[in-house]
């Protein structure tokens, strides 16, 4: 396979070692994934929160509305 | 009434908690002293020289001066809003010793504005190329020194809280008072870099802290009573 051939690393260990710069390379990629995750996951999480909060609010509003109409 | 009277401890905790809540609500109070410290420290390479070697020589001084200025600028928050909205009068009319209430305010203020500066100091130390050996020393000395700055600054704020234009007069009052701490701090760093042992220097700084903790709130309390007059 040509794809396999042009892989720059002959073993997995070598891949992880990154020519002695494992820390540098991997920490950058780790940071990238972290940021990627944060900036996608947090907006999604927040969306859930907003919707939950909004549901709670509308329930409260309805309750107070009925309270007022009944009193 | 007697059964419901608050103890001094309760009033202390209530005040501490209130101030922390206020700080939490205006997150800026936490972030800004810290950002100010970072930015002022950045001004030095720009204004003086980006050359690492020359930076390294002045780094300790720059860190201390920046921390001092950050603490100074943050001080304005300590009693200002309370004075303006009248909460300070309520504080003075509390039946508890003012010493503890002022101390509570000082503590919460330092936690919010001083501690973050101390925590970030090693990073700035690195960027300014401070010799490696000095990181921990700068951290420890700032940890002892910044509360002293806060406590001294608190006296200055108390004296000037009723003035319209406070920022500068506060600085003019407080900066000279802070010089001994500045000297002790930078000396400690330099001397330990030169091989002296930390102990003696730290003892001196510790003594300053203890002194400030016992005396400064008293002075602040007295000054506050005068200021609201």
């Amino acid at each position: 396979m040509t794809m396999i051939e042009i892989i720059q690393f002959s073993s997995l260990g070598e891949f992880f070692d990154m020519g002695g710069y494992a820390f540098n390379v991997w920490s950058v990629y780790a940071l990238f994934f972290l940021f990627f995750f944060i900036n996608l996951y947090f907006p999604l999480l927040k969306r859930k929160q907003i919707i939950r909060e909004q549901k709670r609010r509308s329930i409260v509003n309805k309750e107070t509305a009925t309270e007022i109409s009944s009193s | 009434m007697v059964g419901r009277a608050a103890t001094t401890g309760q009033a202390f905790r209530a005040t501490l908690k209130r101030d922390l809540i206020i700080a939490y609500k205006r997150k800026n109070d936490v972030v800004n002293p810290f950002m100010f410290f970072l930015i002022v420290a950045t001004m030095f390479p720009i204004g003086i020289s980006p050359d690492p070697d020359r930076l390294g020589e002045i780094a300790a001084g720059v860190l201390w001066i920046s921390a001092l200025l950050a603490s100074l600028l943050a001080m304005d928050n300590l009693f200002r809003a309370d004075y303006e909205d009248g909460s300070l009068e309520q504080l003075l009319l509390s039946p508890h010793p003012l010493y503890f209430l002022v101390l509570a305010k000082n503590i919460s203020h330092w936690l919010v504005s001083g501690l973050p500066v101390v925590l970030v100091s090693p990073l700035i130390a690195y960027m300014l190329n401070l010799p490696d050996a000095a990181y921990s020393i700068i951290f420890i000395t700032l940890l002892i020194g910044t509360p002293v700055f806060s406590l001294l600054g608190s006296i200055g704020v108390s004296l000037t809280v009723s003035l319209g234009s406070r920022g500068l007069i506060l600085a003019v009052i407080t900066l000279p008072m802070s010089v001994p701490v500045l000297i002790a701090g930078t000396l400690t760093v330099q001397e330990t870099l030169n091989g002296a042992s930390l102990g003696g220097y730290l003892a001196i700084m510790g003594a300053m802290l203890v002194g400030a903790l016992t005396l400064a709130p008293l002075a602040s309390a007295a000054a506050l009573r005068i200021s609201v007059n």
Partner: protein, 246 residues
Amino acid sequence: MWLWFSKLGSPKWFYELSGRWLPWLVIPMALLLVVGIVWALLFVPPDYQQGETIRIMYIHVPFASISLAFFPLMAVAGTITLVWKMKLADMVAKVAAPLGAWFTALALMSGSIWGSDIWGTWWIWDGRLTSMLLQFFLLIGVISLRSALEDSDAAAKACAVLSIVGCINVFVIKYSVEWWNTLHQPASSFSLSDEAPNPPEVWVPLVIMIIAIYLFFAVSLILSTRNEILERERRAQWVQDLVEAQ
């Protein structure tokens, strides 16, 4: 034109449209990201000077280049807020600031990790680095101004003014800092742009990563903007219907 403009300004319209766009952004983003990262990590030949650390470039350069887009973006949004009072523009400006801070931070961090190997130090007061750092500070300034001003209408306008002033200033800073630096520091190995004669197997994955990360930027910005819309329009009927439907 005017009609289109006011329609675009309508948060509801944007919410629905962006809902339809999202998959067409997320799917290419995911694909390009996978291709780009695998290529960058496995197939790019090590640089003759930088060795394996060249792989950091595929993160650093996209983030660094997008970071520079934030102030112009916020300034444009700010102008729209001030002139046409368009709510949507302010929502974008609001969510752009923290996102910009994240991107700038990653550019700074990846650059400094890269530098720790190549320059032997994590930080030097080089022109580009310093101007990037100052841009980061300005972004924090915008964010803290926003959070400090309690009234959201005033906050919107104040941040708009600051973004516009800041945008001019970011250019001035960039220019002056580079000027300052080149006069002081010989433009030696610190030059960032000497990889022009690189072969395609180096720059093609870079282009892929740049596009992928641009898409990531768009997706994240849109997601946050949609949240902002839901929050600010929460009393509108369509939002309430939408919430009910969830």
